[in-house]
């Protein structure tokens, strides 16, 4: 492991074909494991505190329950023919060369147990069909490799049957939780959402102070009193955004952008302490219960505040849960205004205003940024924006093109539906997995390096809190600036000319001077 690590040099390895096939390095990442959840973290979610005595039986029984509950799991475990189409599609495989990071091999870790205990061929001829007993070694493999899947769904795009490894890894994590072997990072965070209301554990007081500080900053910059309301009953829009937006850069600059756009739209809006988190880590651990509980907070906040619309901020998996699952988990939302999409993405909101000509931009304010756009996996492959399929690719790009003069896409096979994960999604954004995160980011970093050299791209915009946090960490290691990752609404914020602002006066003054000179 140590030898493998030292061989990886991000600066040198960060150049080349983003999708270059690695040499197979068997077991290279076997030792990569996240910290195990403590009994307190486990029990808070209703899971056993530690590995239960009869864990084999319990795990097999839980797999049996999941097979009854989930068509995707049942079909995906049966349908795979080992054709190999997915083998070179996972960024963790491309970055590590560990064959267990090939999607089909990762699935096979669960499939071999399914075969052994739930299929005739595996019961009779395990050696023939690759079926295996559930042993401690298998459990160790599960814990290691099902925490090397960021549930990005890139493999499912290319599978002839649409087998989605995300579904398999969610099921495996659910089984592990159910026998007392949980992942600390995700389960601790879910506990915080239950207890405090957001992933970061930000208390309402701190949140209020942060928002007040941002209001001051905006007024200082523009001269316009833009508000960031919290828990205001009767507002039209509830904005649900990842708690990172209250806390760190470049997330916070994005929040400033939403606030300015919402201010300019003239529609009243509010944040909520109860739903001060868009993220839903219940999805990462495959727990339908946790996911539903977290989703219901948003419904409750919307009802308590009496809002008519729900808008989500920049967060990848949150938008998946919002777009694809929210109505199922927490609906029906018949108390909202159905003239607007339920829910709506902030990029859709901003894009609509741009289409209507309601926003004024000074693009030159972004001239120092030569931009590219990183499609976040859950937005790209698990949700949509706008009315047409593919709007999730077009709308953020249209927003960026409206606010900056220099935009260049990365290589076609690394964006849109083929986009590469940042390397930190799916509940892996934790420090002890830094080696994995660094290597998993390699394909994206190579694609970025290509446009940096070809078009002089200086910055990469994203609409996902996890992407932003992950890139802030790995960009410097690959020889980029740490702040080369920006929020889409940070760019919007830079260029947006608020009505009645100093920037507006300045622009109009310039125009007048130009007119007089002419």
């Amino acid at each position: 492991m140590a030898a493998e690590q030292s061989k990886f040099d991000p600066v040198a390895d960060g150049r080349g074909d983003p999708l270059e096939m690695p040499r197979l390095a068997c077991g290279a990442m076997a030792a990569s494991k996240p910290y195990v959840a403590t009994p307190a973290h486990q029990q808070a979610l209703g899971f056993p505190g530690e590995l239960v005595e009869d864990w084999q039986d319990k795990a097999i029984a839980r797999l049996g329950e999941l097979l009854e509950e989930s068509r995707s799991l049942r079909v995906y475990l049966d349908a795979c023919v080992r054709c190999g189409a997915c083998t070179d599609k996972c960024h963790y495989f491309l970055g590590t060369g560990d064959p267990n990071n090939m999607p089909v091999a990762r699935q096979n870790l669960l499939r071999k147990i399914y075969r052994r205990y739930f299929t005739l061929s595996g019961k009779l001829f395990p050696w023939l069909v690759g079926a295996e007993d559930l042993t401690k070694d298998v459990l160790e493999e599960w814990y290691s490799y099902f925490h090397q899947c960021s549930q990005c769904r890139r493999c499912s795009v290319f599978c002839p049957y649409g087998v989605d490894t995300a579904e398999i890894s969610m099921a495996a994590r659910d089984i592990m939780d159910s026998i007392g072997l949980g992942q600390k990072y995700s389960n601790e965070i879910i506990g915080k959402v239950f207890n405090i209301g957001n992933n970061l554990g930000l208390q309402p007081k701190a949140l209020k102070a942060t928002l007040a500080g941002l209001e001051e900053d905006i007024e200082e910059e523009t001269g316009v009193p833009v508000r960031l309301p919290l828990d205001e009953k009767g507002a039209t829009i509830l904005l649900v955004t990842p708690s990172a937006d209250f806390f760190a850069s470049p997330h916070m600059e994005g929040l400033i952008g939403y606030a300015k756009v919402l201010h300019e739209s003239g529609v009243s809006w509010t944040l909520s302490t109860q739903a001060s988190e868009a993220a839903n880590f219940g999805m990462f651990v495959g727990s339908q219960d946790a996911m539903q509980k977290i989703a219901l907070r948003i419904r409750k906040a919307a009802q308590d505040l009496g809002v008519k619309r729900i808008v989500f901020g920049e967060c990848g998996h949150a938008w998946r849960v919002a777009y694809s699952f929210l109505d199922t988990l927490a609906g029906p939302f018949d108390f909202l205004d159905r003239n607007y999409p339920v829910p709506q993405h902030i990029c859709e909101f901003t894009h609509d205003l741009i289409q209507q000509g309601k926003l004024r931009f000074d693009k030159s304010k972004n001239d120092e940024f030569r931009l590219t756009f990183h499609d976040s996996c859950n937005v790209a492959r698990a949700s949509r924006m706008g009315r047409e399929p593919g709007g999730q690719f077009e709308i953020p790009r249209a927003v960026l093109r409206a606010v900056c003069n220099h935009f260049f896409d990365m290589a076609p096979d690394t964006i849109r539906e083929s986009t590469l994960c940042c390397g930190g999604g799916g509940g892996l954004l934790t420090d002890e997995l830094m080696d994995l995160r660094l290597k998993g980011a390699m394909p994206r970093m190579r694609a970025l390096r290509e446009v940096a050299e070809e078009h002089g791209v200086t910055h990469m915009a994203a609409i996902c809190a996890i992407c932003k946090a992950q890139f802030s960490k790995v960009l410097p290691q690959y020889g980029f600036e740490m702040d080369a990752i920006v929020s889409v609404h940070q760019m919007v914020s830079n260029a947006l000319v608020l009505t009645g602002s100093r920037q507006e006066a300045e622009l109009d003054g310039k125009a007048e001077v130009a007119l007089q000179e002419a």
């Binding site: 197979l24 056993p48 989930s70 068509r71 349908a79 054709c83 989605d164």
Partner: protein
């Protein structure tokens, strides 16, 4: 005696395949799909989903995006197999429909193409390290079985000719429950036995990808979760742990 053994074997194989597949399809159809998980971008209407599914089943669209070699060999194999199966209808239908008569020469070509594609697929499985890594013995044996079926069939066409009139009488006899003697040619017996084996293992093997693809939620769901509330047929309840 030989006729009875083969007749019973083929009936049993058909029965196991039909019942096994029926059971599997029933399981797929009745297991709830709790959430909307189409791989995006996805069609927004049912009609669009039908087109997407057709493009997967007829031209292997996703596989084409993934890997041109696997797509080429895989598609040629499946298309050739379809033609070969259609060509074989002439052994079970009397009179033989015009269309089936017309495709006979193409069916023979398809037989050759099928065997060639299977050889290519097996070569990939043996020679490409990452595909060898993911292959279990059954993955190799499945290709061997299909190859042997194709080879024994081609052998009867080009080399060890069998009494084709008697073979057809046997097949028709199976259909009309009026058994006719089976010619005791080794190639024919091998061919029929292997086909019976293939039918027997169909519902217990990866051949389930054939019905499975139609039930794959990432491919058969429409992208309409904001327009239509998705309520799974069976309510998900918190499962006690």
């Amino acid at each position: 005696m030989l006729t009875s053994v083969f007749a019973v074997m083929l009936y049993m194989a058909t029965l196991v395949m039909a019942a096994g597949l029926g059971h599997r399809i029933w399981l797929y159809a009745t297991t709830p799909a709790p959430l909307k998980i189409p791989t995006m971008p996805a069609p927004t209407t049912r009609g669009g989903v039908v087109l997407r599914m057709l493009s997967e089943v007829v031209v292997f669209r996703s596989l084409f995006k993934a890997n041109k070699w696997i797509w080429l060999f895989g598609w040629v194999f499946h298309a050739a197999l379809a033609l070969v199966v259609m060509r074989h209808l002439r052994y079970f239908l009397q009179p033989v429909p015009e269309a089936i008569v017309l495709i006979q020469p193409f069916g023979v070509l398809a037989g050759i193409a099928m065997v060639a594609a299977l050889v290519a697929l097996w070569a990939r499985r043996l020679l490409v390290p990452r595909i060898r890594y993911i292959s279990s013995p059954s993955d190799h044996l499945m290709l061997v079985l299909l190859l042997a079926i194709g080879a024994s069939g081609l052998a009867m066409k080009f080399w060890a000719h069998t009494d084709i009139v008697a073979a057809k009488a046997f097949c028709l006899g199976l259909v009309y429950l009026d058994w006719q003697p089976l010619p005791a040619d080794p190639a024919l017996l091998v061919h029929l036995t292997l086909v019976a084996v293939l039918m027997l293992i169909f519902p217990f093997s990866k051949l389930l990808h054939a019905p499975g693809v139609f039930f794959s939620p990432s491919r058969n769901q429409a992208d309409d979760s904001r327009e239509r509330r998705h309520v799974p047929p069976v309510r998900l309840e918190a499962v006690p742990r």
